[in-house]
């Protein structure tokens, strides 16, 4: 296989770069080791589009966050995903906190954010009636927003695919082929992909990819755990509520999600394993305790899910790495993309596009980077039953055209069979239960797939024309079912006699 550019990693960064580069008439392959995009850090995070007051403008973090923030309205409208600019409040309790809020505000203003405001007194509780009554001050940033990070990633990938990017799932980069300090290819579990340009967007594993290309840095994962509450609680708060940030993180927040759940978290601590987003008891307690400082009454009885994400941190470094390798031609690192990585996505993608132009000039001047005339910037709106509950007449028309939209598979999230079929056949198709869940929310609700997963499993098996035994939760090795009934007894010969009282 041969291509012009290989992007390693199907996180929000890799997919955004893929979409941006698909404006050019070059061949691009994105490889992702898991069975879907958004399986790493881009799945387990807060989903906040930060206003941009936290970081210094002289850092990439500060600069790219600020540049990106205003772009989200159009980008999300184009990609047909939800983005809600609900604003954030950093909550202060003491004089000391007040000083810090002022510092944040000054930094934000230096960065060019105009509408920051320090709020105090009763207004605070008008904005947030359920806020801890001991709160005194808040830094209000109206431009902060929320997004679903995995839906964002999937939409970017869909759009990239429509524009010609080839996404190879379950394809892992094992090594970088280098000859005379120039990239020649990527060695994967499925064979060699010849290319003269590699973009390393491998998230937590970016250090291993960089090492294969002779660059040295070490990523230490920092875990963050979350809890998510039932949809009836999304309106417990109206904004994203943060505590005063520390050096290490922005702290444990309380916020609604775009799907009206209530989210609390993350804590933050170093872990060894890059592939272990397990939740812990201590973490759960820490997150609850942290969140209660902002909102004392949390609906613990209506917990829907816990999850964790890992930040790809390089110890001692506090900025993104977005640059062409100085040692190897054709190798571009996009690494250490910690928070506010998600918030910086559009500007990161544009920056990489600029770097690519330079690299191409240097190594493949014959490759012309012309924009495709037929670049498709927008995705088509896909109707979801849950959005039509008060427009049932319109949904009736949809059902009349295609009866699959009249069969409701997921009762908690109100997802029709038509939507699930669409997810299995969209540009970046879903091939597992979790992939369906991330695309259309079937199984995401309060019963966590208890009722719909057998049905979704059947639909997947029919559509993909595979045995139900091959349908997985998240790729090979995670099959849901083990055998047909009666098989284990045939294998082992163990049988219970009738004398057992049943």
């Amino acid at each position: 296989m041969k291509t012009d550019v290989v992007i390693i990693g199907g996180g929000v960064i890799g997919t955004a770069i893929a979409r941006e580069l698909s404006r050019f008439n070059i061949n691009i392959i994105l490889i992702e080791k898991e069975d879907d995009v958004a399986m790493g850090t881009s799945k387990g995070n807060s989903g906040i589009i930060h206003a941009g007051y936290n970081d210094d403008f002289n850092t990439l973090k500060g600069e790219l966050n600020i540049k990106s923030n205003p772009k989200f309205d159009k980008l999300c409208a184009d990609l047909k995903i939800l983005f809600k600019r609900i604003g954030s409040l950093v909550i202060g309790f003491s004089q000391e906190d007040f000083r810090k809020l002022k510092e944040l505000k000054e930094n934000g203003e230096k960065n060019g954010i105009e509408n920051l405001e320090i709020i105090r007194g009763p207004k605070l509780f008008e904005l947030e009636p359920n806020l801890n009554p001991q709160a005194k001050y808040a830094l209000y940033a109206p431009s902060a927003g929320i997004i679903s990070p995995y839906k964002f990633t999937i939409a970017l990938a869909d759009n990239a695919v429509i524009n010609g990017v080839k996404v190879l799932l379950e394809t892992e980069a094992k090594d970088i082929r280098i000859e005379e300090k120039q990239v020649y290819g990527v060695v994967t579990n499925r064979g060699l992909i010849e290319t003269r340009i590699v973009i390393n967007a491998a998230g937590l594993h970016a250090d291993e990819i960089a090492e294969a290309a002779g660059d040295n840095f070490k990523i230490n994962p920092i875990k963050g755990e979350y809890q998510l509450f039932d949809k009836q609680w999304g309106n417990l708060v109206n904004h994203i509520l943060f505590p005063i940030p520390t050096k290490l993180s922005k702290g444990i927040l309380v916020a609604p999600t775009v799907h009206d759940n209530l989210l609390i978290g993350p804590n933050s601590y170093w872990v060894k394993d890059k592939d272990d987003p397990a939740t812990t008891k201590a973490g759960t307690e820490e997150v609850c305790e942290g969140a209660r400082k902002l909102v004392p009454n949390l609906p613990h009885q209506d917990l829907v899910a816990s999850f964790a994400g890992l930040r790809a941190d390089i110890e001692g470094r506090n900025d993104f790495i977005i640059e062409a390798s100085k040692k190897i031609r054709g190798f571009i690192n996009v690494a250490d993309i910690e928070s506010p990585g998600l918030s910086s996505v559009p500007a990161i993608a544009e920056m990489v596009s600029g770097i690519l132009k330079e690299v191409v000039k240097e190594i493949s001047p014959q490759l012309e980077l012309n924009c495709q005339d037929d670049f498709v910037e927008t995705l088509v709106e896909q109707p979801k039953f849950a959005d039509y509950l008060d427009k049932t007449g319109e949904w009736q028309e949809i059902v009349e055209k295609d009866t699959d939209y009249g069969e409701i598979i997921c009762r908690c999230e109100k997802v029709s069979k038509g939507e699930i079929l669409r997810a299995i056949h969209q540009p970046l198709p879903a091939r597992s239960l979790d992939a369906i869940k991330r695309r259309v929310r079937a199984g995401m609700g309060r019963c966590q797939g208890g009722f719909c997963s057998p049905k979704v499993l059947k639909i997947l098996s029919e559509e993909l024309k595979i045995s139900p035994l091959k349908v997985s939760k998240k790729g090979p090795g995670s099959e849901i079912l083990k055998t047909k009934t009666k098989e284990i007894i045939k294998e082992t010969g163990v049988k219970f006699k009738d004398e057992v009282r049943v």
């Binding site: 949904w395 939760k473 998240k474 083990k482 219970f496």
Partner: protein, 421 residues
């Protein structure tokens, strides 16, 4: 299709089936039963074990047989049934929106509505079991569906968390299928299911049931590989040093059922925070007149037989309601849970019914107790009547009769309490 009915029943499990038949017997004419699944019977078609009907039919039936008896009768009395039809909204003025493949959206107006949507299982997430999120974690009912309806085994080496009835039944079912059930763990010092299930499903198959134990961690990348279990103290906290690892590929959860009342809440009907079902009077009528609830949507029952009984109460009550000749008491009698009682259903008594001799009250205790006295106490602390019982446990619903003669006009409250005799 016709869109106006005297009675619309939401849910075709044992509760909804009983309501339909009994309402018909009580001269309710236009009845529509809506069921989201392909078949009637609710959860019963997947409950292929026996033990159903002992109370109601005085014989032992399997779940499909028990449901079958009602479904056959239903066919005989021409009740309109729409299967594979999901109700998505109910309003307080009894308009119902439902959807299916053939009709699309249905807007139905009814004079009476019965909520009989059943319950869902509490999940691993709801009780926040720490660890990773691999394949191989199922609620017991979902595993039951995979095995008994779909014909597939979801695992070979199993640990069951929670000693709820479905968990114990599935421990036996999977054992019979050749799987190894390594342990059933119960965080409480007693089983939360029926004693009969503990004996017949676990003891008879030598499946160890560990009380005061829970899972403290689930491990595995793609598929469950092992769980860490630990003993818990009185506050249900894991005791350090008691941890033990059990390798397994499957975790089944049987940690409680939750009435599915999202539609109820959307209709503006208040729920009881303990039962998580609507607050009802002796007719199982919610605070909105003409909207009734029964079965597991009202409170979680341990036997389908009791669900049928409750459905029949509602079927009769709908008849009375539609006739419109009901007589209210001057004030309702409120029934409160007292010592060792988690909840009582119904929560209040509203009607004067000529000829009625007694009212059956259903309740659950908080903790097991032997040789107890159940006292029904009035506003002034006087014991109205009392019953003795050899044993009470949270896994088994308790019922007592409230004699009509005790319900004088001035009575406002009754508190029920259970104490060691």
């Amino acid at each position: 299709m016709k869109l106006e009915y005297d009675l619309v029943i939401i849910g075709g499990g044992p509760a909804g089936l009983a309501v339909a038949l009994e309402a018909r017997r009580n001269t309710v004419k236009d009845i529509l039963l809506l069921e989201r699944d392909k078949y009637l019977g609710g959860i019963l078609p997947q409950c292929i074990h026996n033990g159903f009907g002992v109370q109601y039919f005085k014989e032992e039936l399997t779940g499909p047989e028990y449901a079958g008896r009602f479904i056959t009768k239903l066919k005989d009395c021409q009740i309109n049934v729409k299967k594979e039809t999901m109700v998505i909204n109910i309003t307080s003025d009894k308009r119902i929106i439902a959807i299916n493949r053939d009709d699309g959206l249905l807007h139905i107006q009814s004079k009476a509505v019965v909520l009989a949507m059943g319950c869902r299982e509490r999940t691993r997430e709801a009780i926040a079991v720490p660890g990773s999120r691999p394949a191989g974690i199922f609620t017991a009912g979902t595993a039951q569906r995979y095995i008994n309806i779909e014909g597939y085994m979801p695992g070979r080496e199993v640990v069951v968390l929670g000693s709820g009835d479905i968990g114990m039944i599935m421990a036996r079912r999977m054992t019979l299928e050749g799987a190894r059930v390594k342990a059933v763990l119960e965080i409480m010092p007693f089983s939360t299911g029926l004693i009969r299930n503990k004996v017949q499903c676990l003891d008879d198959f030598n499946i160890p049931l560990k009380f005061n134990h829970t899972i403290t961690r689930i491990e595995g990348g793609k598929r469950v590989e092992k769980v860490t279990v630990a003993q818990v103290d009185k506050n249900l906290q894991a005791i350090p040093g008691t941890e033990e690892e059990i390798s397994c590929d499957t975790v089944l959860l049987s940690v409680g059922l939750i009435p599915e009342n999202e539609l109820t809440s959307e209709a503006g009907i208040k729920l009881d925070p303990v039962t998580r079902g609507p607050i009802v009077n002796e007719n199982r009528e919610t605070e909105i007149e003409g909207i009734f609830a029964c079965g597991n949507v009202l409170h979680v029952h341990d036997l389908a037989d009791f669900v049928t009984e409750e459905g029949e109460i509602v079927g009769r009550a709908v008849g009375e309601y539609l006739k419109g000749n009901r007589k209210f008491r001057s004030q309702p009698i409120k029934i409160f849970p007292g010592d060792n009682i988690a909840y009582v259903v119904p929560q209040h008594i509203d009607f004067i019914v000529p000829g009625r001799k007694k009212i059956k009250l259903f309740m659950r205790v908080k903790k097991p107790e032997e040789r107890v006295k159940i006292n029904l106490i009035d506003d002034k602390g006087r014991v109205l009547t009392a019953y003795k019982k050899r044993i009470v446990t949270p896994g088994e619903m308790v019922s007592v009769f409230l004699p009509e003669v005790l319900l004088d006009d001035k009575l406002k409250n009754i508190t029920i309490s259970i104490k060691r005799d």
